[in-house]
Amino acid sequence: MSYVYYPGCSLNGTARECEESIQAVMRALGVKWTELEDWNCCGAAVATGVSYLLSLALPARNLALSERAESDLVTGCSRCYMNLIRSQHYMQHNANLKDNVNAVLAETGVQYSGKARLRHLLDVIINDVGLDVVAERVTRPLDGLQVAAYYGCCQGMWTYAQFDSVEDPTCFDRLLATLGAEVVHYPLKTACCGGTLSMSKREVGSNLIGDLLLAAVAADADCIITACPLCMFNLNSFQNEAGKAKGTKFHIPVLFVTQLMGLAFSLPPKSVGLHRNMVPPDPLYKKIAAGAESSGEAVAAGPK
């Protein structure tokens, strides 16, 4: 299986820890890929508010580039994935729309034919690499760690429609259980974090984030695990604001899925960007070390 990897814009900036952990973990799993050459922004959640055609053409250009590379296109960002699959789906069902998109794409010298194969990072890890291979790589099982698996909205609806249940996806739970973690019942697992509202409508965004954090605290989770860089940013960066909105104080670590995998693989925390998390994940290290001791495993040194 050959892949081209589409990191997306935020993975070069505020979601740098996601990128670092994706690269480190996929290397550990033996997945080889090259970065999609000359990729562009997918339009995020903003393009639809400005131009319908651009909101489809921006993602379509990346699809067209992956067709040229003749490889599966893997995204590390759920919003990118959603925009790409939306564009692909709409064009698949409407030739007129596809013509218009291709007329726009012609300006950059590429054309979309419809052959692109889009893959989500979790899809590749779970269905191509396989949970058995992930299990083999686990050297420090996360015994005793209680995690809330937060799928996020884009994933719940568009992503998991491709390879899991739309309303009740479970593949993320299975992956985290493979790492030895205990996945708590988290009823808001596919509820939206508010996306860019945390910037453009702070009071609404903070309220939505607060709901998600409250539910994780109520479920006794030690941390929230997400697979979307925007959820990651929102849940990490706005815990103060969310606390004010809910009349409480939050301090719960939020990790990107590959960061937690890195810990279970005994990769150095720095190599998976854990020093960059806005809410320091240090309490988790102690918990993981304690869990390892109680299960009788010799741990030479904590991940610190």
Partner: protein, 186 residues
């Protein structure tokens, strides 16, 4: 492009429309599953169900001016669940688009969208620092509110000061122009 297509993620195209708003709202039977699925409906002047109703009643201008579209996070829960195959999210995006084009939203919100798209048009990729500079410059009060977040992001090495280097960035600007030529202004 005066014909816009309205699709749901799970079905065949519902209908091809001439109206820039699309018209799959005609299929809505007001069950309210969209509003029940919507996490931001509580903050909207008109909930998604009410927006669909306004569109059915020919009161699109009222729906557009309400600004409800700006609160849609495009999570697509409503669209996936709609038993009538209405592309609710695309309808919400359409009233959002018209609201912004008619300058009905607060200028900070309009600048938020404009700054984002301008940055992508210039670089082909999103550049957080340039976006924030464009967004904050005319209203430094916003900057003061965000300064703590900005500084901690900087301290964590999560601010990329270098603009993205995309080979075809000039062609990206041409793409933006071509899209506007085909589509026209909303």
């Amino acid at each position: 492009m005066n014909a816009q297509v309205c699709l749901t993620p799970r079905s065949e195209p519902v209908q091809v429309m001439k109206d820039p708003l699309g018209n799959s709202f005609e299929f809505c039977y007001q069950c309210g599953l969209c509003t029940a699925s919507c996490r931001t409906a509580y903050a909207m002047k008109y909930t998604p169900r009410q927006v669909m109703n306004l569109l059915q009643l020919g009161c699109a201008d009222e729906a557009v001016a309400s600004g409800s579209g700006l609160l849609c996070t495009a999570c697509y829960s409503c669209t996936f669940r709609c038993p009538r195959g209405v592309a609710v999210t695309d309808m919400m995006a359409a009233i959002q688009r018209l609201n912004l084009a008619r300058n009905q939203a607060h200028r900070d919100i309009r600048r938020f969208y404009r700054s984002f798209m301008r940055t992508v048009e210039r670089h082909g990729r999103f550049h957080e620092v340039e976006f924030l500079a464009r967004y904050f410059a005319p209203n430094p009060v916003l900057l003061v509110e965000e300064i703590r977040l900005g500084l901690s992001l900087l301290a964590k090495g999560k601010v990329n000061l270098n603009p993205p280097k995309m080979a075809s960035r000039k062609a990206m600007a041409a793409m933006f122009r071509k899209a506007e030529e085909i589509e026209g202004r909303p």
